[in-house]
Structures are given as structure tokens and as C-alpha cells.
Symmetry: C2
Subunit: 201 residues, 2 copies
């Protein structure tokens, strides 16, 4: 499945299903957010996940936790190795405040909210995303950080195993700084643990 | 006002009011969360605030933004200079996962939720806090971080000016690692921009 540049899509996952988020052309970012299904009060929590990993950059073997400290995903394969989990999705306000851009483009926040609208999940509920392939570097002394071009090459991917029933939304990022000012698509695959069978014989 | 060790309190602020969070004995942490008042759908956002500052550690002059990218607080004075804004408040699950502690202590999360219960704000809504005086150090190469004893000395404080009507909750932290295993109180003062007057003459 392809997510067009500057857009987002949602998908439902069951426990054990695998979501493969792919950067087909290289140097593109996908903001991934997740909610419990059907209880959307549970959501992907950066603060819990980082605290339990004691590491800012997560990769293979790390667990992405919910606000209720339950595993939502395990990263089971990661050909890139560098992602961000500290920043909120770009939005029309991000563009205004950081870039001085007043066109009102929805950004990943607006695109994720549109993808999640059928589930009744509003824009206020969009948390800090697992920003796949986003490359944030930090100065450990001052705490200043830079958003650099992603390290991902064409075809790099991160494979996430769902650990509970989830509604997930993913974007193809709209922020120039995050993708080296080259807006590109994102691909994804869902590998079902238990594919639907024909129950009618 | 004093917040007893391992507890939390809530307070309402109007625009221009100042909240002074004080570490009376030194090396104690206060997790501060905030919500719009009366619209609690708006909340203090780590991801927005860090993104707009391009810095992980915030101090005097920095603005703490809401999820709607509106200023909630400005830090107008800071005698300590080092705080965290990346981790969620400690909770019974934090103690279990990180410390192997199964007593079920509520932690800052539970204490903040209890303080916010009169406002109808439930535990699922507790976001990443502005963790005043919390000292997180990071290895810029690996992203690994450590929670170190706070740099705050007795009497250090951070002065926050409210930029909109807010419900704020603050804790005296319950996590040993955050306060050098010495559970202490936190003090706070509210300086009203427009003190209530006697309208009855």
C-alpha cells in the first residue's frame, strides 16, 4: 500500500499482526501514532516508551508502550536504525512558527487526524508520534537538537509487531526539514497473523 | 503552599498569574502538567514545546506550548536551569517495570490524577510532564540517558507565567531515581495578576 506524499492512512491491527513501514525512495519520514481498539483512551506514549528503554532512539528489540504501560508494538526488524520519538507531528502551526509559512497546510497532524476521523479520534488526541526514519541529533551539553536528513536509503523499513488490538495511522511527512525538502511517498505492508478465512465453506 | 512528599496538588491560574515551583530542601523533582480551563482538551505538550525551542532542556525565556500550539506558560525566572520535558510521570507501572517494585504506590501519575479528579480529568489524560528540577543526561551517540540527582539546591525555583486560563497540577516526586532516593516536599506560590477584590464594598 502506498501513502501519497503529504497524506496519511489508518489501518486496524490485531495482536501478532506485523506492520512494515517502508521508505521506498529514501530520506522520507513517516509519523506513526496508535490507539487501543476499541478503547481509544489508550494511546502510544513516547514518555513511557523512552523511560522504559532508557534510550531516546529506539530500534530492533525495543517495545513501544501505551500510556497505560502496556506494550503496543515490538520493533522486530529495522534496516535504518534511527528514528525519533520526541516530537509531535508537523502541523499548520509548526509551519507558521518554525518556517514562517502561512498557507495552512494540514501537515502530518491534520493528515493523521483526517485518517483517524472515522474512528472518532479528534486532532486533540494526536500524541507525539513514533517518527520512523526521522533523524534528530542532539548536543548533550546544551540540549539543542537539529532535524537532519533521514539516514534511510531507498527500501529501508521498520517492522512493528502489534501486541494488542490497535488503530494505527501513518503519514508521509509534510515537513521539509524532516525529509530534506523532498516530499515523497511512504509504503506499508500489513502481515496478518491470522488471515481472514472463508467461513462459509 | 507545601506539597507533602509523594503527593500532588492542583491550582487554577488566570492569564498573567505566576506560579513559582520551589525545591525547599534541594534535589527534589516536581512534575507539572496543565490543561486549558475550562476546555481540558487543550493540554501541555512536550513535543510541541521542544520542537519550537529546538532544545530539550528549557529554561528562562522559553515558552511551554499546548497541543494546539498556543503558549500555556513562559518561564520567566529559573534559578536551577535544568529540567526534563521528555518523560511521563512515574506510576505504579514505572515502579514495577524499572524498579521491580510491586507495592502499587500511585506515583506522580496517580497523585496528579487524584489532584485533577475534581476537574473531571482522568489518569489517561496525564501527559508527559514538565519535570521541574529533573536531571536527565543523554549520550548523544547512543541516545542512552540517565536520570541523575537534580542540580537544584535548597530554595531553587522556577517561575512560570500563565499565558491562558489553566488548571495545573504539580507533584512532589515519588520516584527514588529522580530525587536521589530522598523523598521530600515541594513548595509553590501563586502570584495573582489581578487579586480578588471585595466586590461588596
Amino acid at each position: 500500500m502506498r501513502i501519497s506524499p503529504c497524506s496519511a492512512q489508518a489501518v486496524e491491527l490485531g495482536p501478532g499482526d506485523e506492520l512494515v513501514v517502508i521508505d521506498p525512495e529514501g530520506q522520507q519520514v513517516s509519523d506513526v501514532v496508535a490507539f487501543g481498539n476499541p478503547d481509544h483512551g489508550e494511546y502510544l506514549s513516547s514518555g513511557r516508551s523512552l523511560d522504559y528503554a532508557s534510550r531516546f532512539w529506539l530500534t530492533t528489540g525495543d517495545v513501544l508502550y501505551s500510556n497505560r504501560s502496556r506494550p503496543m508494538f515490538t520493533i522486530i526488524e529495522d534496516t535504518c536504525g534511527r528514528h525519533d520519538f520526541t516530537l509531535t507531528p508537523c502541523s499548520k502551526d509548526t509551519f507558521r512558527i518554525i518556517y514562517g509559512e502561512n498557507e495552512g497546510r494540514p501537515g502530518c497532524e491534520g493528515n493523521l487526524a483526517a485518517a483517524l476521523a472515522p474512528y472518532g479520534i479528534g486532532v486533540d488526541r494526536i500524541p507525539i508520534a513514533f517518527n520512523a526514519f526521522m533523524h534528530v541529533s542532539i548536543d548533550a551539553t546544551t540540549g539543542e537538537f537539529g532535524v537532519l536528513p533521514p539516514l534511510s536509503k531507498a527500501g529501508d523499513f521498520v517492522r512493528l509487531r502489534a501486541e494488542m488490538p490497535l488503530v494505527v495511522a501513518m503519514s508521509a511527512c509534510s515537513a521539509g526539514q524532516s525529509n530534506n525538502f523532498s516530499f515523497k511517498p511512504i509504503d506499508f505492508q500489513v502481515v496478518r497473523r491470522n488471515p481472514p478465512s472463508c467461513s462459509n465453506g
